[in-house]
């Protein structure tokens, strides 16, 4: 757990009061909650200074008032750090990290499709996983879209 604590301390020192919460539930797992404004700085620092070169994926989750974004970054394939930040549901905008990690390109598009988060500066946010005829501004992984509601919505676009 030494290495995990060391990473958490370094991140806290670098981001100062932008770090809201740090949890190390077990070996090789770190959860860090940060402010949205510090996201790019945090990712840059993790990738370039701390060696978290691998992005496993980006998870988006609806927490009813906000949308939570979780960037799962791996250190030498081993320690998995989940960097969490939230964006308001009415205006879910966050800067892209594709300029730091080119491998994030599809993960951001996926979250954009399913939860409606706009990644500012992303080269192409066209639909990736949803069909072309999918109704606009319908984000299926948001909690307000129950299966019943989605069925109705997609039925009405059928010919």
């Amino acid at each position: 757990m030494e290495k995990e604590n060391e990473i958490a301390e370094k991140l806290k020192k670098h981001l100062k009061n932008n770090v809201f919460e740090v949890k190390i539930p077990r070996e090789r797992r770190i959860f860090v909650k940060i402010g949205k404004t510090a996201l790019k700085d945090a990712v840059k620092y993790l990738v370039h200074e701390l060696g978290f070169t691998h992005l496993s994926t980006i998870t988006g989750a609806d927490t009813s008032e906000e949308i939570e974004l979780i960037y799962h970054l791996a250190y030498k394939g081993s320690i998995e750090l989940s960097l969490k930040t939230t964006v308001p549901k009415e205006k879910p905008v966050v800067p892209t990290i594709t300029d730091i990690i080119p491998g994030a390109v599809l993960y951001e598009r996926e979250v954009h499709d399913l939860l409606g988060v706009a990644f500012e500066g992303h080269p192409d946010l066209s639909p990736l996983v949803l069909p072309e005829e999918w109704p606009e501004r319908v984000y299926p992984l948001r909690k307000e879209y129950t299966l019943e509601k989605l069925r109705k919505l997609t039925e009405s676009t059928e010919s």
Binding site: R29, S56, T57, A61, I101, V129, L130, P140, L141, T154
Partner: protein, 388 residues
């Protein structure tokens, strides 16, 4: 040869070179690929949303069905995640059984892939030989679990079936046979001109690009990067079993074939070691239906690479959010890089090179769309349909 004018060629979703529906738009200058735009989603089934509607127990069956090839990798990842949230651990014998099933799955998956790769380059004799030998593993699965594809071995808190002592010699016998055959194939792959001419120097992925584009699994290891979840972030009983992480620095399709063949040989040794050192004892612990609030990240080295699941629980019997990222999605940006500059004729083998599993990759919509027609079946309609 280049002509200076670029034309767009759609590839898929229905295409003779792709076994599963997926679309790639290629920009071609003469014979050379100069642009690649993937369009995925043709297999989306809404599995992540479906996870939120089902109980933790029902979700084992759902996780099993994310993929028809690496079904065990998904349930291992799922059950590990839920065990972690519950604060329980699978008994030692169950962890060894998980390793044995996972490695058998790796052999059958890599074997399937070597066959497909041979088929893509027109070497159908090798395709048929490899698939014939792969039957040994499929038969072992049937003996051990009763099923060839969805083995349903994992459950929350352990495994559902034991490996009885009288089947151990049968497994070992199968491994001896496969070892002999694999050594032969490894020799064929490295010396046969049919393979070398079509794969050597084709679909180059440099180590720097592989890391930057977050490639995973054999694709990453064939570019010389030594990352393997089994060693880096050990789970099940992998921390107690000695084995080598196979890498190759050719960075081309040939390296990807060699890495997978050598990995199968490693898997055979892992299975032998696990059978000899499997502790006695129970194979599962009972767990409660409801899971306390929390979140966890679970990782597994699936045959195609790093598989990651994220689970968030809310204290009920159903998860609040369940996220799956399969290895194929992780390898798509790297695949686009490999295809740039490739010849049109090499597209199928480069595509096959990452061992794409599109059913795994697509999980999340609510519509079956075939030939642009969409419909949604309710559970009742589906039941009615199946009764007919």
């Amino acid at each position: 040869m280049r002509y200076g004018s670029i034309i767009k060629v759609p590839f898929g979703p229905q295409h003779p070179a792709l076994k599963e529906p997926e679309n790639f738009m290629f920009e071609i200058d003469g014979e050379i690929v100069v642009g690649v735009h993937p369009r995925i989603g043709y297999n989306h089934r809404g599995i992540e949303k479906a996870f939120e509607r089902r109980t933790y127990l029902q979700n084992i069956y759902l996780a099993e069905r994310i993929c028809g090839i690496c079904s065990d990798a998904h349930t291992t990842c799922y059950t590990q995640a839920i065990e972690n949230l519950l604060g329980v651990e699978a008994p030692p014998r169950a962890r060894y059984i998980r390793v044995i099933i996972a490695e058998l799955e790796r052999i059958h998956s890599h074997g399937l892939w070597v066959g497909i790769a041979a088929h893509e380059i027109g070497f159908d004799t090798l395709f048929m030989y490899v698939w014939r030998d792969r039957e040994v593993v499929m038969d072992l699965f049937e003996t051990l679990s009763g099923n060839r594809v969805h083995y349903a071995m994992n459950t929350i808190g352990g495994v559902r079936r034991d490996i009885p002592a009288d089947t151990v010699p049968k497994i070992k016998h199968g491994m001896d046979f496969l070892e002999k055959r694999l050594k032969y194939y490894l020799n064929v792959v490295q010396n046969e001109q049919t393979i070398l001419k079509r794969t050597s120097g084709v679909g180059i992925l440099k180590p720097k690009d592989a890391v930057e584009l977050c490639a995973v699994g054999p694709t990453l290891r064939a570019s010389g990067v030594k990352n393997d979840v089994r060693v880096d972030d050990p789970y099940a009983a992998y921390d107690e079993i000695p084995f080598n992480v196979v890498t190759h620095d050719g960075c081309d399709v040939l390296s990807r074939i060699i890495v997978r063949c050598e990995e199968m040989l490693e898997s055979i040794n892992i299975i032998r070691y696990a059978l000899d050192n499997m502790p006695e004892g129970m194979i599962r612990v009972r767990v409660p239906m409801a899971v306390p609030p929390g979140e966890t990240v679970s990782r597994v080295e699936a045959p195609r690479g790093e598989l990651i699941h994220y689970a968030k629980s809310n204290g009920t019997t159903k998860p609040e959010r369940y996220k799956v990222r399969s290895p194929t999605l992780g390898n798509i940006p790297a695949l686009c890089k490999m295809l740039m500059g490739a010849h049109v004729a090499d597209i199928p083998i480069v595509l096959a090179g990452i061992d794409p599993c599109f059913a795994c990759m697509d999980r999340m919509t609510f519509i079956d769309d075939k030939t642009n027609k969409k419909w949604v079946w309710t559970m009742q309609q589906l039941r009615r349909k199946t009764r007919k």
